[in-house]
C-alpha cells in the first residue's frame, strides 16, 4: 500500500482553519454519524419490515450490507490499483 500523504499539512496561506477543519468539530461530526447509525438500527425494532426477501427483515441487515459493501469495495479497489495504476503520462 502506498504511504499516506501527511495527514495535516499546514495550510500554506496561514489563515485560520475553518469550521470543518478544527479537530473538535470533526469529532463532533463523527459522533453525530455514530448516533444516527445507532438510531437507524434501533428504528428497525419499532416497526414491522416489509422486505420482499426474508433476509431483508433481519434487524440491521441493510446496515451491515452497507458497511461491508463499502469496506469490500474499497479494499478490492485498493488491490485493483496494483494492477491498473499507471503514470499520468502513460498514454502520451
Amino acid at each position: 500500500m502506498e504511504p499516506h500523504p501527511p495527514q495535516n499539512p499546514p495550510p500554506p496561506t496561514g489563515d485560520e482553519p475553518g469550521w470543518p477543519e478544527r479537530p473538535k468539530n470533526v469529532r463532533r461530526l463523527i459522533a453525530l454519524t455514530i448516533v444516527l447509525c445507532v438510531a437507524a438500527v434501533a428504528a428497525d425494532l419499532f416497526y414491522s419490515k416489509h422486505g420482499h426477501y426474508g433476509f431483508e427483515n433481519i434487524t440491521g441487515f441493510h446496515a451491515l450490507y452497507g458497511f461491508f459493501s463499502y469496506v469490500g469495495l474499497v479494499l478490492i479497489a485498493g488491490q485493483l490499483r496494483k494492477f491498473l495504476r499507471r503514470e499520468e503520462d502513460y498514454y502520451d
Binding site: 502506498e2 499516506h4 475553518g18 444516527l36 452497507g66 463499502y70 469495495l73 479497489a77 490499483r81
Partner: protein, 567 residues
C-alpha cells in the same frame, strides 16, 4: 405550423442564428430557445404523430406519447440549465454545437421510425464532438476523434440493423424490437455502445472529462439518456439487460474509487447510474419502466449539477484533480453547498430526488425476484455514496487545504446550479408532478417506513465505514496516476498485461501481440505508403504506365469476351 415543426427543430434551427447575434441579446435568445421548445412540446396533444413518405418509405418523424414526452421535457430542462450555465462562454462554436446537440437529442426522442432515429442519432454525435474539441488541447483533440469514431460506429450499426430489420419485417417503425433477428441485434449493439454497456463504455470516461467545463454539462445530459430511452422503447423486458445493467452499476465504481480526476470520477458514476436504468428496462414491468424514466429524469438533473460544480472548480482553478484540490469551501461556499445537494441526491438520501426514483427500480427488481440483480444494486447504492456522495465533495471542497484561494463561480453558473439544486430537492419532496409524467399509472409510495429506514441504514453505515476506513488509513489515497480501463485495449496493445502474468506467458503473449501488432502496423504503414502522395495510388502514374493499364484492362475485357463467345 407549430405542430408541423418536429420538437427539437426549434433548437437546431435556432442554433444556426446564434452566430449572428451579439452580447446580451445572444444570451437571452439562447435561453429563450429551450423555453420555446418546451412550450411547443407541451402544446402538442398527448398522443400525436406526424407521418411522412420519403423515398417510398413510411416515416414518422414525430411521435409523441407518454414515454417520449417525459424524456422530451427533461431534455428541454437540461438544455435550459446547460445554456444558463454556459452563458459566460464567448465561443460561438460551443454555443451553436451545444444547442444543436440538445435539439438533436430531443428530436431523436420523438422519432417514430428507425431512419429518423438514425438521422438524429448521428447528428448528436457530430454536434457533440465540437464540445470536446472546443477545449483546444491535443488530448481533447485525440479523445474527440476516438469519441466520434465510436459514436458514428454506433449509428452505422443502427442503420445497418434498421435496413436488415426492414428486409425481414417490412417495417421501419420504432416500436418494440426484441432480440429476435440479426437486424434487431445489430440495433441493440448500436444502442449499447451509446448506453456505455460494460466493455463498450470507455468512450464515455475517455471523452467527457476532456470536454470544456460547460461542454461536459451538455454531454452528461443527452447522449446516454437518449440510448436509455431507445432501449426502453425497443427492448423493454429483454432479460439480458438485467445482468448487463447490474454489471454496469457495479464495476465502474471500483474505478471511481481509484480515479484522481474528479470529472472522470463523475463519468464513472454516470456509467453506474445508467446501470440502474438498464436494469429497469431489462425488468420491463410497468413499475420498472416508470422507475427508469423517473431515474433518468432525476439523474439528468443531479448529474448535471455535479458536473456543473466540478466545471465551476475547473473554471476557477484550472484543475479537477483530487490531488490538487481541497479546502475550496472557503472560496466557493455556494458551489460547495450545491455540490452537497447533488451528492445527497445521487446517493439517494430520503428527501432528495434520487431516492424517489431509485427505490422504484429496486422495488421492481425485488418484486420480480431478481435476487442477484437486487443485491448488486444494493451494493452499488452503497458504492455510489463513496465516489459521488463523499469523494467528490470531500476531496473537492474539504479534505486537505492545498491553499487554493479563488473566487466564487460566476453568477450565471451559480444560478444554473441553484436551479438544478432546487429541482433536486423539490423532486425529492414533492414528487407527485414527476410521477404524473411517468409513462404508466403510478401505484408506488416512496416514503414508507421500510424504504426510508433501510435506505438510511445503508447510507449511514456506508458513511460510518468511510470514517472507519479513513481513520485506519485503509481508504485508498489520492495519487497522481491514471488507471487502466478498456480503452487500454485500443490505446495500448496487450504487451503490458503479459508483464504481470509471468515470463513464459509473457513471451508467448508478446509473440502473439507482436505479430498481430506487426501485421496491423504493417497494414497501416502499407495503407499509408500506398496512398500517400508519392505512393502508387496517391500519385498519378506517368502516361506510359497508365496506357499499360488501359491495355491490360482491354486484355481482360477481351479474354472475358472470348471466354463466353460461344453464346
Amino acid at each position: 405550423m407549430i405542430e408541423n415543426l418536429p420538437p427539437g427543430m426549434i433548437l437546431i434551427l435556432g442554433a444556426l442564428l446564434v452566430p449572428f447575434l451579439r452580447g446580451r441579446v445572444a444570451g437571452l435568445y439562447m435561453l429563450l430557445l429551450p423555453v420555446l421548445g418546451l412550450a411547443q412540446l407541451l402544446a402538442l396533444p398527448d398522443q400525436y404523430s406526424l407521418n411522412l413518405e420519403f423515398l417510398g418509405y413510411e416515416l414518422q418523424p414525430v411521435r409523441v406519447d407518454r414515454l417520449s414526452r417525459i424524456f422530451g421535457i427533461i431534455f428541454h430542462l437540461a438544455a435550459f440549465l446547460s445554456v444558463l450555465y454556459s452563458l459566460h462562454v464567448k465561443d460561438r462554436i460551443q454555443q451553436v454545437s451545444g444547442l444543436a446537440y440538445a435539439g438533436a437529442g430531443i428530436g431523436a426522442v420523438f422519432a417514430g421510425d428507425l431512419i429518423t432515429l438514425f438521422i438524429y442519432w448521428e447528428l448528436t454525435a457530430i454536434t457533440s464532438v465540437f464540445l470536446i474539441w472546443a477545449s483546444r488541447t491535443e488530448k481533447a483533440h485525440r479523445a474527440g476523434l476516438r469519441y466520434l469514431v465510436v459514436q458514428v460506429l454506433s449509428g452505422v450499426l443502427l442503420l445497418a440493423g434498421a435496413i436488415m430489420h426492414y428486409e425481414e419485417s417490412g417495417s421501419l417503425a420504432f416500436g418494440h424490437l426484441g432480440l429476435g433477428s440479426t437486424g434487431t441485434q445489430l440495433i441493440f449493439l448500436g444502442f449499447g455502445i451509446k448506453a456505455a454497456f460494460p466493455l463498450l463504455h470507455n468512450w464515455l470516461q475517455d471523452a467527457y472529462p476532456q470536454a470544456t467545463p460547460t461542454g461536459t454539462v451538455f454531454l452528461s445530459a443527452f447522449t446516454t439518456k437518449l440510448s436509455i430511452y431507445a432501449l426502453a422503447r425497443g427492448y423493454a423486458g429483454t432479460d439480458i439487460l438485467i445482468p448487463i445493467g447490474a454489471a454496469m452499476t457495479a464495476f465502474p465504481i471500483f474505478f471511481a474509487v481509484l480515479e484522481n480526476d474528479l470529472r472522470r470520477v463523475l463519468a464513472y458514476s454516470l456509467n453506474n447510474q445508467l446501470g440502474f436504468m438498464v436494469v429497469g428496462v431489462g425488468i420491463g414491468t410497468e413499475l420498472a419502466l416508470n422507475g427508469t424514466a423517473a431515474h433518468a429524469f432525476a439523474h439528468i438533473l443531479y448529474k448535471a449539477l455535479l458536473f456543473m460544480t466540478m466545471g465551476a472548480v475547473l473554471h476557477r482553478t484550472g484543475t479537477t484533480k483530487a490531488t490538487d484540490l481541497g479546502g475550496l469551501y472557503k472560496s466557493m461556499p455556494w458551489t460547495t453547498f450545491f455540490c452537497l445537494i447533488g451528492a445527497a441526491s445521487i446517493s439517494a438520501f430520503p428527501l432528495f430526488s434520487g431516492f424517489v426514483s431509485k427505490s422504484m427500480i429496486l422495488t421492481a427488481a425485488a418484486e420480480e425476484h431478481h435476487l442477484g440483480a437486487f443485491l448488486v444494486l444494493l451494493f452499488a447504492s452503497a458504492g455510489v455514496l463513496h465516489h459521488s456522495g463523499i469523494k467528490i465533495p470531500f476531496y473537492g471542497f474539504f479534505g486537505h487545504d492545498r491553499g487554493l484561494r479563488t473566487r466564487e463561480a460566476p453568477l450565471n453558473m451559480l444560478l444554473a446550479m441553484g436551479c438544478a439544486a432546487a429541482l433536486c430537492v423539490g423532486l425529492g419532496v414533492w414528487y407527485e408532478p414527476l410521477y404524473a409524467l411517468l409513462p404508466y399509472a403510478v401505484d408506488f409510495e416512496p416514503y414508507n417506513v421500510t424504504h426510508v429506514v433501510t435506505q438510511l441504514q445503508l447510507l449511514l453505515f456506508a458513511l460510518a465505514a468511510f470514517i472507519f476506513m479513513y481513520k485506519v488509513h485503509l481508504e485508498p489515497p489520492e495519487i497522481r496516476a491514471i488507471h487502466l480501463d478498456t480503452d487500454w485495449f485500443y490505446r495500448r496493445a496487450g504487451k503490458r498485461l503479459a508483464l504481470s502474468l509471468g515470463a513464459s506467458v509473457q513471451s508467448l503473449w508478446a509473440a502473439v501481440t507482436g505479430s498481430a501488432l506487426g501485421v496491423a502496423g504493417g497494414l497501416g504503414a502499407w495503407v499509408a505508403r500506398v496512398h500517400r502522395p508519392g505512393g502508387p495510388v496517391g500519385e498519378p502514374l506517368p502516361s506510359g504506365k497508365s496506357a499499360l493499364w488501359a491495355a491490360l484492362l482491354l486484355f481482360a475485357f477481351l479474354v472475358l469476351a472470348l471466354l463466353v463467345s460461344d453464346i
